[in-house]
Amino acid sequence: MRVTFTVNGRPTEADDVWEGESLLYVLRERVGLPGSKNACEQGECGSCTVYLDGAPVCACLVAAGQVQDRAVGTVEGLADGDTLDPVQQAFVDAGAVQCGFCTPGLLVQTHDLLNRAHHPSDAEIREALSGNLCRCTGYEKIMDAVRLAAARKADARGTAPAGSEG
């Protein structure tokens, strides 16, 4: 079947999609966006996290046909041209990337967290990232990266972390 949807704002068509195929497979194998990673195909690892109509979901658990006429956002859509999103830049600067397999999912999930909570507590960060597994970093650098991204975004907005906005 054919599936028509938008990815990162761009109208996209995927052909010869098998009816039981996942959105993750369509993104990686049919529309040339391999940023979202396939590590478990059962919702456990979060490395395939993408936005579906603005909410982060596991792309491996969305049937391709379900995204017909809907909007998908992937890690490839976070950067603005050559300028990384503050979340991406913070992951680089904090050394939160080792093998990098978990990174795309963590970036999308963190991006969503910081859109909703401007000054998340550590507990909120851990909760938001509880569905994203990383086998390399031990998570401390990831925590650092999220705190750094939150602080930089607050700076850019000119707000101090008073904890009242989140």
């Binding site: 658990l61 049937a63 569905g131």
Partner: protein
């Protein structure tokens, strides 16, 4: 395989009547795992995502929440935690944020896994499942919904349209045992709801029997205990011995098995502890807030 995309509820019923073996897919968090791992190869999928009303909820005149089958857990937690505290607590323990953005109570009921986290709170609240087919609509009391391991009372041509859940009139609790705080299938779980207006206490046990079930003997015991000692009126402290006995009776109502997640003996022990604690929490909560408000 066919991918069927009804745009309206009526169309969905017609499609299901024509293809009774077609598998409905809502959040997909159960269905897609089975497809990805080739555990299931249905002739057809029926996508329910396009049917708007399944994602909506409303409050009926009698204060019952009519929860559309596909409303994701994240929405329940956000919008209904006051009215449905037990279900919201259960919803908070489901998977991860990504899973809660897609997974739904309709899907939990459709799968009818004994470990599903929506089931114990639905049992404790006294919910009703609205099932429909081209033949008409049935309101199935939750007590009659679970028939066996992953088997429910739906006919092949039926779909779940909504779940009717009375708004809480007293404190509710849900507790779940697992190896970590997120992403765990319950080793066992327990929900309790106080219903002060009827002086009832209702329960739900998860992951400790072939189906989710109530602990009726425990409910009757604590109902009699509260009545006889006049505690609903006095608002007195619940005797610890009564809470302990309640816990034992809950454990006695379970029929757990040994499996990779835990032994039957552990499940029974844990249930007794969860039941005793959650009963005390709800009772103390009722004493502190419920009576003041009443």
């Amino acid at each position: 395989m066919e991918f069927l995309r009804p745009a309206t509820w009526e169309e969905a019923l017609a499609v299901k009547a024509q293809h009774p073996s077609a598998v409905p897919i809502a959040g997909g968090t159960d269905v897609m795992v089975e497809l990805n791992f080739d555990r299931r190869r249905p002739d057809a999928l029926v996508d329910l995502n396009r049917i708007r009303e399944l994602h909506e909820w409303r409050i009926e005149d009698d204060d019952t929440v009519r929860l559309g089958a596909s409303v994701p857990y994240a929405r329940i937690i956000e919008a209904l935690h006051d009215r449905l505290p037990g279900l919201s607590l259960g919803a908070r323990t489901v998977g991860s944020p990504q899973i809660r953005n897609r997974g739904s109570v309709g899907g939990n009921l459709g799968g009818a896994s004994p470990a599903g986290d929506a089931h114990p709170p639905l049992l404790a609240s006294g919910a009703t499942v609205e099932a429909a087919s081209v033949r008409g609509t049935r309101l199935i009391p939750i007590d009659d919904f679970y028939l066996g391991v992953k088997r429910n009372a739906l006919e092949p041509d039926e779909l779940i349209r909504a779940v009717h859940i009375p708004s809480a009139t007293g404190p509710q609790q849900f507790a779940k045992i697992g190896t970590r705080n997120a992403m765990v299938i319950a080793v066992c779980s327990f929900a309790v709801a106080l219903h002060p207006h009827t002086r009832d206490v209702r329960t739900g046990i998860g992951s400790a029997a072939p189906t989710p079930r109530r602990a009726r003997e425990a409910e009757e015991f604590i109902r009699a205990e509260l009545d006889e000692s006049g505690l609903w009126t006095s608002g007195g402290e619940l005797p610890r011995a009564a809470a302990r006995r309640f816990g034992e009776l809950v454990a006695g109502a379970a029929a757990p098995i040994d499996d990779v997640r835990g032994s039957a003996a552990y499940r029974r022990h844990a249930l007794a502890v969860l039941a005793r604690r959650t009963l005390l929490w709800t009772w103390n909560d009722h004493r502190a807030t419920g009576r003041a408000a009443a």
